[in-house]
Amino acid sequence: MSRIKELFSKKASRVLNVYCTAGYPQLESTLTIMRALQSAGADIIELGMPYSDPLADGPVIQASGLHALENGMTIAVLFEQLRNFRSSFTPSVQGTPLEGDAGGDEAISIPVILMGYMNPVLQYGFEKFCADAAAVGIDGLILPDLPQHEFETEYGAIIKEYGLDFIFLVTPETSDARIKELDALSSGFLYAVSSSSTTGKDKDFGAVEAYLQKLQGLHLTNPVLVGFGIKDKQTFDAACRHANGAIIGTAYIKALEGAEDIKVATKAFLNGIV
């Protein structure tokens, strides 16, 4: 069973997936943030691979990506950073990491997903990318500009071969028939974009409710996580009423902006939500 499936088999509601941009705010922040997210109670980490032309992203995530690129982040650098993230080198007592600072370098055991755009992945080499991702312990992929047709004819088989989950997006504009098709092609979970927008837009959450209820009624095979516009406890709670959980991105990136201590900022941010 994949780490993501295992998570949902144990926890079917209020699953919190937090997005962060690899290499932001500092090139070396990636692991610090991942550890901070795990210890603050995130269930899944979605690691964004920065790209020069992120079409689906609003200004906040765009800026974090640009910043990360300026810091020198690349897919190769990211895999290097992630080489040992599933193992722990710090003292532990009978397998349980020590609390507090002594356990600061604990292994990351929660599911980690890579999110990014096709061009850098194609340039890295699609199969090599999947192989290296699986080898370091990545669980799934979100590539919003990988189309269904190309997934079915070319890339899906490679993703499967390396045991990675692949998560499709659906939106309020996606027809029921297509939602079912994309659900059938997805594994791990289905990503329900809350409204038709780029990331970080504030939209009225009322309309979202009806859409999520509709999704519930479709009896999908995958759990559903809601993303875009989830920014605080209120929106997280609203999303969780009709879905298995939600994804927070822009609001967390904002919380990291100018934060003095990533661990403290992350804890403070997630405390207000979970």
């Binding site: 061009n119 919003p144 500009d145 189309p147 190309e150 038709s196």
Partner: protein, 402 residues
Amino acid sequence: MINTTVSLNRGTYKQPNIFGYYGNYGGAYIPEMLHRNVEELKARYLEIMYEPAFQQEFQDLLRDYVGRPTPLFYAKRLSEQYKTRIYLKREDLNHTGAHKINNAIGQVLLAQRLGKKRIIAETGAGQHGVATATVCALMGLECIVYMGIKDIERQAPNVARMKMLGATVVPAESGSQTLKDATNEAIRDWINNPENTHYIIGSVVGPHPYPDMVARFQSVISEETRKQLKEHTGSELPDYVMACVGGGSNAAGAFYHFLDELSVKLVAVEAAGHGVNSGMSAATTQLGKPGVLHGSKSLVMQTADGQVVEPHSISAGLDYPGIGPLHAHLFESGRGIFLSATDDEALEAAFELSKLEGIIPALETSHALAALKQMTFKPTDTVVICLSGRGDKDLATYMKSI
């Protein structure tokens, strides 16, 4: 030898396959947020475009509003200079001064039939923005044009024209602040406004069906050229058709009805900027690698790490790190001859045409003219150059070299 056995499921030169591929290039690499709009276009564009009432309205507007057919002019003194027979297809004489309006009219008529009330567009040189703003004024539609800050500065007359026509010009501040980023911003606008908005892409780029749709609207260029050549020379077929390529829409239109005529050599001229290997260039076929940009797979100028790079050209309309998938296929298959001209060569060619023929060409077009020097023609050859636009918008740049 040119390979002519293009199998059905790989598309032909003229027409992509049902997934939008010309050979290895094309497709619709779009996030789900755009799926419904793009799918609707894909399902309906051909049916709408070839409806008799649509064709009637389109052809009437091209004739009475745009001023088509545009002349095919035998350039006697230019021909003497290059010791061959050169014809200029005068797209510069279109209303608004470039070929861009052929596509803008077609897509606005299409948008109306799709029930869209709000039009968005990206622009580099401002010609596509002006054309779109013009047609929106004519039809009473709201028009928003995204334009890189750098281009707003270097194409000021066109910014003023768009504003006078009632369009809102939104500066694209992200990334390299040129055409690529204006396109990103326009796509993001469409993601955020899926219901009432149609996005008029200005070149043969973007997700399927845009490259095919724009090529069809621009194909009027070669349709007329064939008829006019027959009157001039007795044959519909030239030996060469030459055009500049940014995204590639004037070239696609000028090539279209010759794509399957393998005796006609198709010459596409890219912007070399300071020189192909100078690090300041926009010659995508020379410098690009296969990748995905703005919703299609094509050749893309990028770093080893897959980040799209900032191109450079003196001409805002060619300052683009990609190329339409049709052209990537013409390049890869060998059907097209791809050349490039530097900033300086383009400037020189602009002055040459001005003095020899009394026509001031756009900086973009000047790249196609500059490539004449790289060709060896026979005196009996017939060469058609697509004169994609006029140079009024570039006077500030030209004045610097007087």
